[in-house]
Symmetry: C2
Subunit: 319 residues, 2 copies
């Protein structure tokens, strides 16, 4: 009996609302760990639905979220957060009593605000955010290992059902992640500095470089290996998703951006007045956090993220 | 005779002044392509000299640059640019007539200013800058493929000997690079936006994150996969080298930093007033430069620089 129980999937029917990089990776990882008897999904885009079916990510595709959630015991919102309010209003009346509703959005207080009021009594709403991704988008971008060894943050309300939170925590652990429970407002502050402001300054420097009069785009591209190319990877992330992040985490982003600009002014002044001691001290301090991130398993220790490895890509032919 | 000539190394004796990531990679790549009959080097640090000998990077190690350049037909300065003036003064009297002196510094106008006056008549001074590197330092960090398919910029003076420039260009091509000839002042402007300002804002955000009261260092580290970790790689680069870059490219860096801050203010205002159209347009524009960089062979097309690949690193055991 114990063995039989261990082979029973955690959820009977998982509904993915939106099937991009994050949703498709959840599907891959669910199947790797046998977490769902069936996975269905919805997308407003016909091509996405067809692609998701072709890739075997979902067994049924719906063009609207309300139909997709019928009978689901786990509903995961995987759309840009700006679409959540409308999705929540649409699915609310169709949710199954006892179901868990969660999401993967990069902001959490706005999700509580937009989704919470539409969740009926008897359904468990537990916002979530896996800290994982790549710069690619769409159902074909997903892979089973995306969440391995990454953190997933859950932000249950104070009165959330502990059993539902525990079940969702176990689900993410079986997807490969470690789970942290956190207040939604604190999540938004933490992510403002670890994700949102880094993306904003990456988007920004790419735009600055593209609009110079004295340096051509061709030069920027050719000599990007000096550091700039790292920023372009982040700046290639989904524009709509990121627009919605900034529109929905305004206060925390503006606070962290204020700190960033203040600190940058100190460096700018040190450059202007040739204060090498200030520069060297700040640059030396910055090294230690890198070591901690590698020790914590959150990045590779390989130089240049491993992309310089001799075998990958192959050395070009000599000219 | 032709075949025999093809097997003759380009240079009889190459002197590397400084043997860190860049110098050691030159040694590896020289041996791969048989470009030097012998390679010698100098370092003020005994441990570096011993390491360079142990690794076979050089056949003779000197504790001062003046001794190292004797008899060399190619001298490459591979030290932080702040040390160049003293090195040039020391080696000037010991250079061999007809020799080429070059360097690998990330700034060029200051190098012309600091080194040029010490180069005697009959010696060819041609500043250079390979646009390649990793965040690691020291003689053990080098590898033969570092320069493959990267660009190397040479900034010969208007009256430089064309034959010497052509020979140095061929040398870098045989190290694996493509070569661009450019004016020193223009180089400094191009690199300010493609390398110097990106490094400065990476150093800066890492320091901002380290000095917050409401977000702990532990949280920054755990949730760094949201984007922040990319910046820590760049910010792990050598502090002394980067101090010298900013002290020696002040005007161009301040100009580009001014543009960056101006553009960031536009984004900040769009966030404050909830102007999603401005955000989405700027984020969409930023995607196209990434595509161009990949098409130009200056970065990998693999998602997340390839570091998310299933096979590398291995998936951790399930918890």
């Amino acid at each position: 009996m114990t063995a039989a129980k261990a082979n029973t999937p955690m959820f009977s029917r998982i509904a993915l609302i939106g099937i991009g990089l994050i949703g498709s990776s959840i599907s891959h990882a669910c199947r790797r760990a046998n977490l769902a008897r069936e996975i269905v999904g919805s997308s407003a885009t016909a091509a996405t639905r067809q692609k998701a079916l072709d890739l075997g990510l979902i067994s049924e595709a719906f063009d609207n979220a309300a139909d997709a959630v019928a009978g689901a015991d786990l509903v995961i919102l995987c759309a840009p957060v700006g679409a959540y309010a409308a999705i929540a209003a649409a699915i609310g009346p169709h949710l199954t009593p006892g179901a868990i509703v969660t999401d993967v959005g990069s902001v959490k207080a706005a999700v509580v605000r937009d989704v919470g009021p539409h969740i009926p009594a008897g359904v468990h709403f537990i916002p979530g955010h896996p800290i994982a991704g790549t710069e690619q988008s769409g159902p074909e971008a997903g892979f089973a290992e995306l969440y391995d060894n990454r953190w997933c943050i859950l932000t249950p309300a104070a009165d959330a059902d502990p059993a539902a939170t525990a079940k969702l925590k176990l689900f993410w652990e079986r997807l490969g992640s470690q789970v942290e429970i956190m207040d939604a407002v604190h999540h938004d502050l933490v992510l403002a500095i670890t994700s949102h402001v880094p993306h904003l300054i990456a988007f920004n420097i790419v735009n600055t470089a593209a609009h110079l009069e004295r340096v051509t785009d061709s030069e920027v591209i050719k000599f990007s290996a000096g550091g700039f190319r790292d920023f372009t990877r982040i700046a290639a992330s989904d524009p709509v998703m990121w627009r919605d992040v900034f529109l929905n985490n305004k206060d925390a982003v503006l606070e962290m951006l204020g700190r960033f600009s203040e600190d940058l002014t100190v460096l700018q002044r040190a450059i202007r007045f040739g204060d090498g001691d200030v520069l060297q001290r700040m640059f030396t301090d910055a090294r230690s956090i890198r070591r901690s991130i590698i020790q914590a398993g959150q990045d590779t220790a390989a130089p240049d993220f491993g992309r310089s490895r001799p075998a990958d890509p192959p050395s070009p032919a000599k000219r």
